[in-house]
């Protein structure tokens, strides 16, 4: 029996390995194929389909049963042995299924969405590589490999955000995403090193598993804080939490299908997944800080989303807001609700992005057909699209309701579970912690407003360019099956039946039950009855109010130039203050360094060369005048002596005799003197 179980485990591990490696294989094959080859899309899609099937199988094997953990020796340094392997517990298999299931519709959608692109093959290479990195991240059991795949996720998102690298904004956006993620990577690396120093292992099960080393070993407080701060940074960077969230709205410069994947299951989910993996590490105080950060992010992003005009930016800020909900849920100990929201959010956010992709695609089409001067992403120039794009409209409504957390959708189950848990958490607390649930509560109403604004402006009313110019041709449609199928699949995933048979109670959802052991208190309370009711009453009112404003032409209660509106429209001036506080000094420092190079360092070199030159001139003068002069002097002396001696050789006898006389006289005089 034991042998049999081990055999089954080995099989599951092999399946997991195959599921992870299939997209990598597809990426390699696509990399070799010519860039325009249309077959690449189907190779990637088949690979992810294979992964999805295998993941579903693994999920059935592992979910709520014993976890599978197999590893082998990777390398050893001295007495330290480092093992690497595959860890399949509830969290990993949930993420496996989620990533592969959300990536599949995105792949199908991309085959149509990117078909005009000259670098079609390269796009699918990156896409498959992205999926591989994320799948590998969720199954690895070793922190070093975890870090490696964490980096790879960041790197592949960098490639995809900057996919249209001829657009200067795309280059800026992917650079920004990369740099901000590097900040988080440093945090994660710090945390991993600190953990290794304290616990002497990279093994995730040993560190955070049943007998978590992080609980049994007394880690010095300072080290604990350092590691925790590193993890906060890592989560904030990957999951776009304040203050490192600004890369996510800019990442909209990539293809919309990529935004869908980044926002749904892969990139931003990695941060929440990290929290899930490292959860036992955090102390209650740190969790409270996490809750505050998450709540603040949720609220801030929701207020920003209220006034944005770019369709994709609204969705980006809604993602940040929902990620704030997830992080806050982790912080208040609602582990299961957080992961539940991660799962439901993946489906409806992916759906909304695919809708946005279709709308932008069709707006671009209208713009090119009629030579209009409009921004195809600006919701102010849209309107009335529900008649032209019926399926897209329905998908948008379902996704929007799920985002708002309206009953009968999956978003209702997960978001209200977070709200209920937050009220329960705050019950016996004071001060700012008491405020958190109220802020989250308010945020869900704000969510309702911006979603309503977006849907009304895009799909209701009249098509704006057509009002001034009635001759505009509107040859648009929902598109082929590659567009429709993903929408239908994801729309079904955004409704309640996938997660719970009871559309109104989240505590019975299978996903929540799978993680309930990690939760803190989970008793029924009165909040579970009236919080959802209150929220949804408010939501209905907000939806109606928004309807009267955007459809009924009622005036906004606040003028467009009011400070709050500008504050929101300019994204709380966060980017600008970063520009002023961080980017400018860094640039100034760089410029200073740049100035130092030609002026100080080169100047020093120039000075040195000048000194050498002067020295050389002195040497030259010395050479010419002293050394040569001495030689010339010698020569002149010899010449003079020669000339002098020559005079005695004039052939005159008497002169010779006189000379002899003179010499003899001289010798005698010399002798006398001596």
């Amino acid at each position: 029996m034991q042998d049999f179980l081990t055999h089954i485990d080995t099989l599951t591990t092999k399946f997991a390995l195959t599921a992870v490696l299939l997209p990598l294989l597809a990426a390699i094959v696509n990399y070799v194929l010519p860039a325009k080859s249309k077959i690449t899309g189907w190779i990637s899609t088949l690979a992810i389909l294979g992964s999805a099937v295998l993941c579903a199988f693994i999920f059935a094997k592992v979910w709520n049963q014993h976890e599978v953990h197999q590893q082998q020796l990777w390398f050893s340094i001295g007495d330290t042995k480092v093992y690497a392997g595959i860890l399949l517990n509830n969290l990993s298999v949930l993420m496996l299924v989620l990533v592969s299931l959300v990536a599949l519709p995105v792949h199908i959608y991309s085959t149509a969405y990117m078909k005009e692109d000259a670098r079609y093959g390269r796009y699918f290479t990156y896409l498959s590589f992205f999926c591989f990195s994320m799948l590998a991240l969720v199954v690895t059991d070793n922190l070093v490999l975890f870090y490696a795949f964490w980096e790879l996720v960041g790197f592949s998102s960098y490639l995809l955000i900057g996919f249209w690298f001829t657009k200067p904004k795309a280059i800026l956006a992917n650079k920004k995403a990369f740099i901000m993620n590097r900040i988080g990577d440093i945090g994660l690396l710090t945390a991993i090193i600190t953990l290794f120093v304290s616990c002497h292992t990279f093994d995730i099960t040993q560190l955070f598993g049943a007998n978590a080393l992080v609980k049994t070993i007394a880690i010095p407080t300072n080290w604990q804080y350092l590691a925790c701060a590193g993890l906060f940074l890592a989560v904030a960077a990957k999951s776009a939490q304040f203050p490192l969230h600004t890369w996510l709205p800019d990442a909209m410069e990539g293809p919309t299908s990529i935004s869908a994947l980044i926002h749904a299951a892969t990139m931003v989910a990695a941060g929440v997944f990290l929290l899930g993996r490292f959860y036992p590490f955090f102390t209650p105080d740190e969790l409270t800080i996490l809750a505050i950060i998450g709540t603040f992010t949720a609220f801030m992003a929701a207020t920003i989303a209220l006034t944005q005009n770019d369709l994709k930016r609204i969705l980006a800020y809604s993602t940040i807001s929902q990620l704030g909900f997830m992080v806050a849920a982790m912080g208040i100990g609602a582990y299961s609700s957080s992961l539940f929201h991660l799962a439901t959010h993946a489906f409806f956010k992916c759906l909304l992005f695919l809708v946005a992709g279709i709308v932008i695609h069709e707006m671009q089409h209208i713009k090119e057909e009629n030579n209009l001067e409009i921004d195809p992403q600006n919701i102010q120039t849209m309107g009335g699209l529900r008649k032209k794009l019926p399926l897209t409209f329905i998908a948008a409504v379902i996704g929007g309701f799920a985002l708002i957390g309206f009953p009968l959708t999956s978003g209702y189950l997960s978001k209200d579970s977070i709200l209920v848990r937050s009220f329960e958490w705050a019950e016996d607390r004071n001060g700012i912690e008491k405020l958190l649930p109220l802020v989250l509560f308010l945020t869900s109403w704000l969510t309702a407003f911006y979603v309503a604004r977006m849907v009304y402006k895009v799909f209701f009313g009249e098509f704006k360019p057509a009002i001034s110019n009635p001759k505009i041709n509107l040859h648009i449609s929902d598109g082929g099956w590659q567009y429709k199928l993903p929408l239908i699949l994801l729309a079904i995933g955004s409704l309640f039946p996938l997660f719970s048979y009871n559309p109104l109670a989240s505590e019975n959802a299978w996903l929540v039950k799978g993680f309930s052991s990690a939760d803190t208190a989970n008793e029924l309370s009165i909040y579970q009855t009236y919080i959802p009711v209150l929220v949804n009453l408010g939501v209905v009112l907000v939806l109606y109010w928004a309807y009267t404003i955007y459809i009924g032409q009622r005036r906004l209660p606040i003028s467009a130039t009011a400070f709050l509106v500008r504050f929101s429209y300019n994204e709380w001036y966060i980017d600008r203050s970063y520009q002023r506080i961080i980017v400018k000094p860094v640039l100034a420092l760089s410029r200073f360094a740049c100035w130092i190079d030609p002026n100080i360092i080169d100047g020093f070199l120039h000075l040195l060369s000048k000194i050498t030159l002067a020295f050389a001139k002195v040497t030259e003068w010395l050479d010419k005048n002293i050394v040569d002069g001495f030689l010339h002097l010698l020569a002149a002396l010899v010449l003079g002596i020669g000339n002098f001696a020559r005079r005695f050789q004039n052939g005159k006898v008497q002169y010779y005799l006189f000379s002899m006389l003179a010499i003899i006289l001289a010798i005698f005089i010399f002798k006398i003197l001596i």
């Binding site: 052939g651 005159k652 008497q654 005799l657 006389l661």
Partner: protein, 101 residues
């Protein structure tokens, strides 16, 4: 009384006169005469120092030999001067300066 030093002084005077004649005269004959004067100064010295050799009269004997030799050399020198004159048409020692070649 005539002393040895008087002889030597006369000899030295003769020698100097001969030297002067040799160095200054523009005529080879006169130079030859100067040589004879110097030779005679030397012979005078030999005779004067002969007083220390009264038994064998070595000084006087040497003087006689020297006179004979001087006559011989003078004859040779005159012959040379004659040949010089034949070749250069002059006996000025300052102009016959081909010794330097």
């Amino acid at each position: 009384m005539i002393n040895l030093s008087d002889f030597l002084l006369v000899s030295a005077g003769l020698f100097c006169i001969g030297l002067y004649v040799i160095l200054t005269k523009r005529n080879s004959i006169q130079v030859l005469i100067g040589i004879e004067l110097m030779l005679n100064a030397a012979i005078l010295n030999l005779v004067a120092f002969g007083k220390y050799d009264k038994i064998s009269n070595g000084g006087q004997t040497f003087a006689l030999f020297a006179i004979v030799l001087a006559a011989a050399t003078t004859a040779v020198a005159l012959a040379i001067i004659l040949n010089v004159y034949k070749k250069y048409k002059t006996i000025d020692p300052g102009k016959t300066d081909h010794l330097k070649d």
